[in-house]
């Protein structure tokens, strides 16, 4: 078992850079109409997924909503497979059938990529149920947005998890907005974390721009869950720099607000911490960033030249045995 402290921080910084460069490239390819449908970028929120993933084992379960490129990458899905998915290619992590909002990677325990707000939270509870049912010591990480906490499915899921004492961490990525609706306008609570209290689930607020704080807090929770299964809740305060999706100009918030968060950038912050401690030189950082850019650029080339699923396979993924009804 890999202990948390062993996850190399420079490696996690590389992951955050990979996510950012991937999203920037995805944005560009979307504008070039190589990518279709809806596309939601994770830029600004990198420390949340990186911190959480740094706190768990590779065999723990991860599930999230539709802003999911980062979670797939963090779960070790290659940039090639992610970009190919956006391009709708067979080499994509969902064979080009899912698209941006439906990234899956069974092998790496990434259980999606779910586009109906709130709908995956009960699924996460099911994953956790299976862990307990089998007597394993895995943990489920369930990511969702601030917008999901007012869906009935969310509430039902929290109660079930608490009632059955399931090994799950509910991770609310509170980026202050659900599309154009601020948390203030959607939620009757002063703070989201209080939702957990209503179900007797321990909850905490975490600074999502601080990689180390996210990692340490989740590591602590996961440690406790492995000893004795129980649900936990973290409200991670973060911010998305871009609009809700590629088609949202985000005119509901001010430039000043965005600038405030940009100045607190999670990548810049971790870099500064590491540099200060002598664990990272500027040259090393540039090298890592260059590598991230190259990886992503290569993924575009890969996606471009990859084939699509042939038309005659259209019916192969409706039923598990491939039979036409």
């Amino acid at each position: 078992m890999q202990s948390v402290e062993q996850r190399d921080e420079v490696e996690m910084l590389s992951l955050m850079l990979l996510i950012r460069r991937f999203e920037e490239r995805a944005s560009q390819q979307y504008q070039a109409q190589k990518i279709g449908g809806f596309c939601h970028l994770y830029i600004g929120q990198e420390a949340v997924v990186a911190g959480a993933i740094a706190a768990v084992r590779d065999d723990d379960y991860v599930i999230t909503a539709y802003r999911d490129h980062a979670h797939a990458l963090a779960r070790g899905t290659s940039a090639d497979a992610c970009m190919a998915e956006l391009f709708g290619k067979e080499a994509g992590c969902s064979r080009g059938l899912g698209g941006s909002m439906h990234f899956f990677n069974r092998q790496n325990h990434m259980y999606g990529g779910h586009a109906i707000v709130g709908a995956h939270v009960p699924l996460a509870v099911g994953l956790a149920f299976a862990i307990k049912y089998r007597g394993e010591d895995r943990v489920t990480l369930c990511f969702f947005g601030d917008g999901a906490i007012n869906q009935g499915s969310f509430h039902e899921a929290l109660n079930l998890a608490a009632l059955f004492k399931l090994p799950i961490v509910f991770i609310c990525e509170n980026n202050l907005f659900a599309m154009g609706t601020s948390v203030k306008r959607s939620t009757s609570l002063k703070q989201i974390v209080d939702r957990a209290e209503g179900y007797d689930i321990p909850g905490e607020i975490v600074d999502g721009m601080n990689f180390r704080e996210v990692r340490d807090k989740i590591a602590e929770i996961v440690h406790s869950i492995r000893k004795e299964p129980h649900p936990a809740f973290v409200e991670i305060r973060t911010y998305r720099y871009r609009g809700h999706s590629m088609s949202d100009p985000a005119s509901y918030r001010t430039k000043q607000e965005l600038e405030k968060y940009r100045l607190d950038d999670p990548i810049t912050r971790l870099r500064a911490q590491l540099t200060r401690e002598g664990k990272l030189t500027n040259e090393q950082f540039d090298q890592i960033d260059k590598h991230a850019k190259e990886t992503v650029l290569a993924s575009v080339k890969f996606a471009e030249k990859s084939p699509e699923l042939p038309l005659d396979k259209l019916y192969d993924y409706t039923y598990a045995n491939g039979a036409k009804p």
Binding site: G88, V117, G147, L309, L314, T318
Partner: protein, 327 residues
């Protein structure tokens, strides 16, 4: 008459009904401050204020049910689903509460509510976001369903829906919002009755029965068929429920050949019902078996080429028409 977009037509209908009846209000995600995810409610918050144009959290089951409750005591809610794919979260309210109430209460509580929003596949949104929900709802007695395909129908049907004393679903379409068409001027009251189809194009060789997004496809295809000397009559159902049997049968009696082109899936789809009624009532008028062009029976793939293969298109429609015409 003047030319406006489908989006503007809906916006006018909403504004006129809000203006006319103080019991009408509009509620849904992003309808107020954001002016609607697809800008259908543009300007309404400014004009009617936050008491009547109401943003909600992402809680479809909650606010759909709120609407049904408010309708029980006489308000006339217009509930917007950002898309009808999300109405599935509120399925219980739309299917179990809204249409059953009148019967269950022995006629004491009618539910004058309008559920509206875009329905049907758009473009590469994948399986969760591409539902054509009309057959799901058509199977629920007590609901009325209309599917406007033009700006004029959008305005006239939405206004009628709001005035109806029953739950009515107005199934719009994302891909139609920016389409344009001629509509009566605002000072002329435009009400189009539910359950009334419209012949969008006269023809003599084959009846193409369509609705919603497939009307455009049918009209474009009819023009191509003309070049091959096949004269297609385009019957736009406009309402799925009630269904305008007379208009359908009249057209069949004229052309004796039928292709139904629908945006939903084949199994228990709208076309299956239309087909059943034609053969039951005017069997003798048919010179060929009825054919249907629908989606393929698979969850919607994201990949563009596969999505195209799933959806009805001109080639499939032409092939079906030629088959029924033995051409």
């Amino acid at each position: 008459m003047r030319e406006i977009t489908y989006r503007q037509a809906l916006n006018e209908a909403l504004a006129e009904e809000l203006e006319r009846d103080p019991d009408v209000f509009l509620m849904g995600e992003e309808v107020a401050e954001y002016n609607g995810a697809y800008k259908v409610s543009q300007g309404l918050l400014e004009r009617f204020g936050p008491r009547r144009i109401i943003d909600t959290p992402i809680s479809e089951n909650g606010f759909a049910g709120l609407g049904v409750g408010a309708a029980m005591v006489g308000l006339r809610p217009i509930i917007e689903f950002m898309t009808f794919s999300f109405s599935l979260v509120a399925f219980d309210q739309v299917v179990n509460n809204a249409p059953n109430m009148f019967t269950m209460s022995g006629g004491q509580f009618n539910i004058p509510i309008t559920f509206r929003g875009p329905n049907g596949p758009a473009h590469q949104l994948g399986a969760t976001h591409s539902h054509a929900t009309e057959p799901l709802y058509a199977n629920s007695p007590g609901l009325k369903i209309c599917t406007p395909a033009t700006p004029r129908d959008a305005k006239g049907l939405l206004k009628t829906a709001v005035r109806d004393n029953n739950p009515v679903l107005v199934l719009e379409a994302e891909l139609l919002y920016s389409s344009k068409g001629m509509v009566e001027p605002p000072d002329e009251e435009l009400l189009i009755p539910l359950g009334r189809a419209e012949v969008k194009r006269e023809g003599s060789d084959v009846s193409i029965i369509c609705y919603a997004q497939t009307v455009r496809l049918a009209l474009a295809t009819a023009a191509k068929l003309e070049e091959e000397d096949i004269s297609a009559e385009i019957v736009d159902l406009r309402s799925i429920k009630p269904l305008d049997e007379k208009a359908i049968f009249d057209s069949v009696a004229k052309t004796h050949r039928v292709v139904i082109v629908e945006q939903d899936r084949p199994f228990c789809g709208v076309g299956a019902e239309v087909c059943y009624r034609i053969q039951k009532n005017v069997f003798d008028e048919l010179d060929a078996p009825i054919l249907r062009v629908s989606q393929e029976d698979v969850p919607m793939p994201y990949n563009e080429r596969l999505e195209k293969a799933v959806l009805p298109n001109a080639d499939k429609l032409i092939a079906a028409v030629k088959k029924v015409c033995y051409a």
